[in-house]
Symmetry: none
Subunit: 201 residues, 4 copies
Amino acid sequence: MALADGGPCGRPRGRPRSTECTAAILRATTELLDERTYAAVSIEDIAARAGVSKQTIYKWWPSKAKLAMEACAARAADSYPIPDTGTVEADLLQLLREVFALLRRGNSRATWASLIAESQSDPELAKEFRETYVAARRRIGATILERGIARGELPAGTDVEAVLDLLYGPIWYRMLLRNGALDDKYARFIVAHLMPGLLRR
Amino acid sequence: MALADGGPCGRPRGRPRSTECTAAILRATTELLDERTYAAVSIEDIAARAGVSKQTIYKWWPSKAKLAMEACAARAADSYPIPDTGTVEADLLQLLREVFALLRRGNSRATWASLIAESQSDPELAKEFRETYVAARRRIGATILERGIARGELPAGTDVEAVLDLLYGPIWYRMLLRNGALDDKYARFIVAHLMPGLLRR
Amino acid sequence: MALADGGPCGRPRGRPRSTECTAAILRATTELLDERTYAAVSIEDIAARAGVSKQTIYKWWPSKAKLAMEACAARAADSYPIPDTGTVEADLLQLLREVFALLRRGNSRATWASLIAESQSDPELAKEFRETYVAARRRIGATILERGIARGELPAGTDVEAVLDLLYGPIWYRMLLRNGALDDKYARFIVAHLMPGLLRR
Amino acid sequence: MALADGGPCGRPRGRPRSTECTAAILRATTELLDERTYAAVSIEDIAARAGVSKQTIYKWWPSKAKLAMEACAARAADSYPIPDTGTVEADLLQLLREVFALLRRGNSRATWASLIAESQSDPELAKEFRETYVAARRRIGATILERGIARGELPAGTDVEAVLDLLYGPIWYRMLLRNGALDDKYARFIVAHLMPGLLRR
DNA sequence: CAATAAACGAGACGGTACGTCCCGTCTTCAG
DNA sequence: CTGAAGACGGGACGTACCGTCTCGTTTATTG
């Protein structure tokens, strides 16, 4: 029991993975993605910027997409807490504002868009994208809605998953297809139009 | 006026553009996009399949993306009429059903997704995408909403553009990020939850 | 007759192969092989020096070895005539002198050595090497010997092929294993010691 | 004596493990060189086969070539005695037969060829090759010739070194450039044609 | 009915990045 | 301290397409 704790196969052998390397690679990736579009960033560019050999990158990441995803996600690591103001409406509004703020950092918006695209032709990537990043954000929305149901604010039969699609959909739509503003006005509009359909009649 | 009819600068000289060629290229593109992912289809593949030289493709289309977009759009050419049942709710429902049906044809869904991705790093493409294809669909929704306003079903101050974001957003969201079903149930869910926020209080 | 002359399959289609390219590649190869060792010359170096893309090289030559062989052989293209002085001894002496002179040009000696090595692990290359370059030189020696036999200078039963091995062997030996001088003295020594074993008793 | 011989795990304070290592590395090298061409064997392959880390190899051998040379030479370690039959002709014949026999073992022939090639671009290796392996074999031939001179069979002024070139040259020539048989017939031919030029007139 | 001009097939070409292989060096840990 | 395990920087490999560029051929219109 105590021993098994150490990992799957005991002590690591050989030279340990360099944390500096990992950091340099992620940093270089983030920088380059902020400077240019995803498509214009090559693995060779990243290697050069990070002062690392290509092989080291290929050793730890299977593709540019996975690397970009990780680099992009690291930015959102200092995760915001789940809003809890007392009403579903205020909670959702705050949630949207935080999401918008995140997407405004650097080139995140365009990068995420490219990753979504990439994931259309890479099922493995799509899976990770959905299960790790999309799911994480949905869980926050789900918590808010479930609290609303528990509180009696929303009806018991609410289809939480589907409501989340209505909540998040408009964000990605503007971001990907319309190149529209993700601002406070839009956040308020979404919530204002969603609430009447949600509340107990 | 009468002269302008022939084209921008008089009569065409030389050998006219081969319609067979154009058709063969579009057909080959459609076929290949149905067989593989967008990323796995190269211009050289298309040329080979169409029995055409690369140059001929480059002559008429600036990029694989534009070509794919045209091939994909041709599928929706036999365009549905704007629904007009008498109520906004029924109109919107029918609209969504028609959109869903289109996206189920062949590999359209994945291809559109890839094009959206591509357009993130190609402003020219993004512009065309937005102005031609997205706008065309939005106009239908806008017409429905405006009729509702005229009819007094919806309040006069309705922000039509923003409402359309709420309407179309959830579709693309499921399609791109969730890989979820675009079925009748979803169409009804969207409309049902949207209406309370729209109707005159 | 007149038509068949044009080639195996009529007119060549598409853009014709650039003779400038071919020349530039061979020139670059020769230059680089004179500057450095065979092992230190990469296809990428050659491409860079020739101002040509790697692909163009790979299109026409299957390997660095074949390219080097061709470049090296081009140097000996202005081929010397078969000596014909009247005696086998004088003919062979002149032959050796000419061979030595060729091997002294640029870095030929080291390059041929590397090609011989390479051909040990590349049967295709070995075949070409033997059939094209080695055979061409042996043919000259064979002619000299056969004239000697016809003239009655050498016995009728002389094993020409084996004698050629005795003639050429010592050259390559000095060149490859001993790094010894290929000078006039050596040429005379070889011939002087070979003749007694050859002449009619 | 008997105890020390015992094996790898006899004495706790016994011989250092390095001899086992050395043996394993040489064995692996020999095996791999017999299975594939020199070029197709990498240091990493050898390390893997020997169950040894790369570093251990680099610690003792500066290059794959040196290692291969040693492994290849080890095969000839059970060195044949210098022939001494009474006549130069018979001695040389026996010498050639023994050399041929050695070169027929495993892949020796191809490996030596590759080493010769490698030595063209590695002066350090060339030096060792010449001074250690080539010289060792030449010394045997030299001894035979010098005995012949002492015996009065060969003239006093014989240029031993140059004669050795005539003797060994044809071997390597067949081996490297002609891929021809190294058989008894060839041995007899070489000696038979060499002798008339050597013997006192 | 030429002459002209564009469309077209074929394919060579310069270029960029790919993902892989192996080199030789390094860093850590076990015995 | 030796040696295994293996991470790392580096450099070349051979490949895949890109988009451009000649060519020769085909198919219209125009003088």
